[in-house]
Symmetry: C2
Subunit: 340 residues, 2 copies
């Protein structure tokens, strides 16, 4: 018998700072794909600066589906776009996920550059190489790991965001703080964003394919994704993650892993948010919505849990624990009481 | 400004030999996806041996399209297949390409094992991590680079192939010999397969993402894919590649890169094949069919060319050369005269 081991990999370069988007950072054949809501504000000026083609796609999470994917693929084919293209994804997390997915499968993958326009997209979608679309079975169930060539996180764009949008980003930042590095929670503004990014990169470098440690980034997302699905993706991802994170903290507390003091401190951390369950929420709907989530195993839901602020529990390297419906009940009662 | 470079990669293990497919080589949750034509012969016995679920998909190149991709995705979702699954692709090149593609995008990628059932699939589709489906715009235009966890090339399966099928594999083997290692052409049987595999791995290890050297593996495929498209994918890939390789050799000769002696030797090498252009072939159709091929740049078709048997021309690291329609004409006249 004859046996060979071989390998391949792509690198990513991340830039964060003010006034990053200059003419010289990109060259060659460029196609910018922009969230339609940002076409005039960012799409057209950048297309002009880089002499790039511009394609606009339906806005936000509702547009992140197979229909938009196929529209983008076919538009690129009709334009005769070839392998030497650089696809630039310009928008929030949903746009980055969808354009990243198409970049990963178009002609078996073309160069991808991400320009996240929200704090949430910088911290969540842009870093880590995850791409994806939603399906009728659930969120992000079809997608790839496809690290971009580069990421430009322009702080000028992020500074001008409305307060509500900044809070969305804060939810993901706090999540990273809760599971990995409590000092992130103490920071503010750009320093906090940078520290959260560094934390996230430290995690994904250790486990790029989410076989263990990287699962801590799913903290708050089992319930978070379920809530988004119930709300038909009209709920902001950040709000869903904030509620989901609080629920995961409550679960950590109710299962005896997290102290009451820590849990109460965490509740205080989330006071800037005005959180509310979706109008059509019911416990039954949430359990059904979570059933198709990727973060299950052997039919049981799995949750990332913490035993102190800044530290997820390793559970023998699995970084998550199966949780039965009975174990989950007190937490679901609690969120309904507090946020219903 | 803050800047980080980071990376990720997956490895592949290839096994080739007799009696490889034993109970202990696979464990855990296994779903075998088999070409419907091989369901009874290989699918059912292997599913029984590994206690695996079995899904059968439409046979061959005609089934390698979005409809089959979605059927497979939805079947897996409905079965509740989770991330811990190992998808086993069992069949020829088309099956391996399609199942590999679904494995790369289902839940952002699950473990993939390839069991190629033809020599062509061993040498061509199985090695190199390329997956893909055909689109109305052309062949393999949507796909990924997704190296399998392991490849089992069982020589018992390959030894029982009909002669015509062995010739299909020989076409790809000779192609590797023509562009990379003339000694492959002199070998026979298992030794030849092994030498071709080693040659191909040597190429893809140097250039996994096809940015330069790996392009030599596209030798014969510009015209080959065009012919398959004209024939509506009813032409065997091996035959199309054999014809395409001969045409690329003629082109190398007619552009003055390859000697007449070498070109005549190559024609002799291909005598085991009884090659014929598709019934509905016309020069115009071929040029149109090639227009959407991935191997173009700036509107011009690009060809891999050789300057001696076993050696593709580097062309400053591009390993291909733009060819105008005028330059291509003598070659198209020649193949029509010889194989029309």
């Amino acid at each position: 018998m004859f046996s060979i081991r071989y390998t391949s990999f792509p690198p990513t370069q991340l830039f964060i700072g003010k006034n990053l988007l200059t003419p010289k950072i990109l060259e060659g054949n460029i196609v910018i794909v922009v969230d339609s809501a940002l076409k005039d504000l960012y799409g057209k000026p950048l297309a002009k600066m880089w002499d790039a083609a511009l394609i606009s796609i339906p806005s936000g999470e509702k547009g992140k589906k197979k229909k938009t994917q196929e529209y983008l693929e076919n538009t690129l084919f009709k334009m005769g776009v070839e392998r030497d293209v650089t696809l630039v994804a310009l928008g929030g997390g949903a746009t980055l996920d969808l354009v990243g997915f198409v970049a990963s499968i178009y002609l078996r993958g073309v160069a991808l550059v991400l320009i996240p326009t929200t704090v949430l997209a910088v911290v969540d979608a842009a870093i880590g190489g995850k791409t994806g679309i939603n399906t009728p079975f659930g969120k992000n169930l079809i997608g790839t790991f496809y690290p971009p060539k580069s990421i430009f996180a322009d702080l000028n764009m992020l500074d001008t965001l409305p307060e509500k949008e900044k809070l969305n980003g804060l939810a993901e930042i706090l999540k990273i703080g809760l599971v990995f590095d409590a000092s992130i929670i103490e920071e503010e503004g750009e320093k906090q964003i940078l520290k959260a990014i560094k934390g996230k990169i430290a995690i994904i470098e250790q486990d790029p394919r989410e076989l263990g440690l990287r699962r801590v980034l799913n903290f708050g997302h089992t319930i978070g994704h379920g809530l988004e699905k119930i709300a038909n993706y009209k709920m902001a991802h950040g709000e869903a993650v904030a509620l989901g994170s609080l629920a995961a903290c409550h679960l950590s507390f109710s299962l005896g892993f997290l102290s009451k003091t820590d849990f109460e401190r965490i509740q205080k951390i989330f006071t800037p948010f005005s959180l509310k369950l979706p109008k059509n929420y019911s416990k039954k709907k949430l359990i059904k919505a979570m059933a198709h989530d990727k973060k299950k195993s052997e039919g049981k839901l799995r949750f990332v849990l913490i035993d102190q602020i800044g530290h997820a529990i390793a559970f023998d390297g699995a970084y998550c624990r199966p949780v039965s419906e009975t174990e989950l009940k007190p937490t679901l009662d609690w969120i309904e009481k507090c946020y219903g």
